[in-house]
């Protein structure tokens, strides 16, 4: 990877982190548990990496199998995370 490509990625990292700090500090404590399970689901974004890795067929089988293991785990994270977060948020009612 070239240094200039790296710099672009670091830009993205720094700006996204800053935005994350700003947005998340505004989440009320009432919602901290759903925030955690919801962000858990978002960290399942590794699923994109897992898909790319699973695709490396024909070159090395080890890469592919590692990719598929990652794929199963990341899918659990994504599906389970969003569903349980929805289950919780559904319960928060104001009467």
């Amino acid at each position: 990877m070239s240094l200039s490509a790296l710099i672009v990625l670091i830009y993205v990292l720094v700006l996204a982190s800053y935005l994350g700090f700003e947005l998340i500090s505004k989440v009320p404590p009432t919602l901290h548990t759903p925030l955690m399970s919801g962000s858990n689901a978002i960290s399942g974004i590794t699923i994109v990496g897992a898909l790319i890795a699973s695709n490396e067929l024909g070159y090395t089988t080890l890469s592919k199998w590692l990719g598929l293991v990652a794929l199963v785990l990341a899918t659990i994270n994504v599906v389970g995370g969003y569903v349980v977060t929805d289950r919780m948020l559904k319960m928060f009612k104001k009467k």
Partner: protein
């Protein structure tokens, strides 16, 4: 670069950000979660377009298996067990990032060794380290929360030295990898060290410090995804990973502040163990007991009530019967609210979820800073399964291990009733001075059973 896919990733990143923004308001939060999920579907769909058809079957099966497990677990899990689930899922996220990093390493090693340059190797090693630490650390946290291993801090002599040595060994092995990236042996050493570090950093931390630990591991799982984004030069991974990383760090800070401890102090561990002996020296507190009938009468004659729930309420499954108590009080026009301490429960916001499940309106759940002024003009405070968060020693006794921790001013109320199984100590191992206060009465017994009796007494009165 396929421009269509890059645009799809950009849209997904924006949707994650909007989704988190919506989480800032309780009424919009559910919508926010859906928006974030749509972003995820877009990112996945866009990636699927880049794949070769040959692997689609295996990929399809893997996605089906993962979805089935995730769906089953998410629908079945009890709300009291959410901390365990989050810990477990943090671990899965970490392991997934770890596996992607390794997969990429093997792929590049066998096909294009030259592409393993310094930047790439650094990203791979970071992803392996953070991913593995997240995985084993989360598994230990899960086992502790689930009671499969003792929640007590596990410490031994030379623990910190061992961690330091492992870290040095990690750096040394990393240098060897840089010198010869084709050597798998060094990578294996790095993996073993990383897995060990995850275990060793979480075992010395006590069960009651778990809110800090799972917040931190949550952050790690995001950082692991972020490192994977650097390996694959993939912006959506970096954006999503940093959002999660930031979220975990903020929650970690909030938890530490609410316990008046530094993150380093929590991570060094052993809390509760060292102070347990100190607490035993103090004079035994003399307490006054109260029965079910008198409790019902006190509720009946009060005009304002604040309930202070703690993890003990969740253990006793008393939240539903507390709602019945609330209904009885509201029938009598009693102002009935809940005071939520930030570290009540086993993870940030845990009490709110449990009370929401018991169908208690969220505007009744008041944060510490917003309700602390009100205790002094409240008739009755009902403490259920909470201990350290109402211990006045945190304000007055510089010798106390919890001194300086912000607490709920329950002792300022006219009368305090404490529902407690027995005269045990809080996790900090300190006597609770509140129990000996002249305005404090102890209602001993299982919270669910005693409160059920109080409710039926109140029904009879009406």
């Amino acid at each position: 670069m396929n421009i269509g896919i890059e645009i799809a990733y950009l849209v997904a990143s924006v949707l994650f950000i909007i989704g988190i923004k919506y989480l800032g308001k309780t009424k919009d939060a559910r919508k926010g979660n859906v928006i974030s999920a749509v972003g995820m579907v877009i990112a996945i769909a866009a990636t699927l377009f880049t794949l070769e058809v040959l692997t689609l079957l295996e990929i399809g099966i893997a996605i089906l298996v993962g979805s089935a497990i995730g769906l089953y677990y998410a629908q079945k899990v009890a709300m009291t067990k959410i901390p365990e689930m989050v810990a477990l899922f943090n671990g899965f996220g970490g392991l997934a990032s770890f596996a992607v990093a390794l997969s990429d390493y093997y792929f590049k090693r066998d096909t294009n060794l030259a592409s393993l340059d310094a930047i790439n190797l650094t990203s791979i090693l970071l992803s392996v380290l953070i991913g593995a630490v997240t995985f084993t650390g989360s598994m230990v946290a899960y086992l502790k929360l689930d009671g499969k291993i003792s929640g007590q801090p596990i410490t031994f002599k030379g623990q910190h030295l061992l961690n330091l040595l492992l870290l040095i060994a990690f750096i040394a092995a990393s240098v060897l990898v840089f010198l010869d990236p084709s050597q798998v042996n060094y990578i294996v050493i790095l993996i073993v060290i990383s897995l060990l570090l995850g275990i060793l950093t979480v075992i010395p931390i006590g069960g009651a410090d778990m809110p800090v630990v799972i917040s931190l591991l949550n952050s790690y799982s995001g950082m692991a995804a972020c490192a994977t984004g650097f390996i694959l030069s993939n912006n959506v991974l970096i954006v999503a990973g940093s959002l999660v990383g930031a979220s975990g760090i903020i929650l970690t800070q909030i938890m530490c502040k609410a316990m008046n401890r530094s993150l380093v102090n929590v991570l060094l561990g052993g809390f509760g163990q060292t102070v347990a002996t100190g607490g035993a020296d103090g004079p035994a507190v003399v307490v006054k007991e109260i029965g079910v009938e008198e409790t019902a009468m006190l509720f009946d004659s009060a005009s304002s009530v604040i309930v202070v729930p703690g993890y003990g309420m969740a253990v006793a499954q008393a939240q539903h019967v507390i709602r019945e108590l609330m209904e009885q009080c509201e029938k009598r026009n009693i102002n009935f609210r809940f005071a939520i301490h930030p570290v009540a429960g086993r993870m940030p916001g845990h009490m709110n979820v449990l009370l929401a499940e018991a169908n208690i309106s969220y505007d009744k759940l008041i944060e510490m800073d917003d309700i602390n002024e009100d205790f002094s003009n409240t008739d009755l405070v009902f403490v259920v399964g909470a201990n350290d968060v109402v211990n006045p020693a945190a304000r007055t006794n510089p010798q106390s291990p919890i001194f300086g921790m912000p607490i709920l001013n329950a002792d300022k109320a006219r009368t305090v009733i404490v529902s407690k199984r027995s005269m045990g100590k809080g996790y900090a191992g300190v006597e609770n001075e509140l129990f000996g206060f002249p305005n404090c009465l102890m209602l001993f017994g299982d919270a669910k059973q005693t409160i059920t009796k109080v409710v039926s007494e109140m029904k009879d009165m009406a």
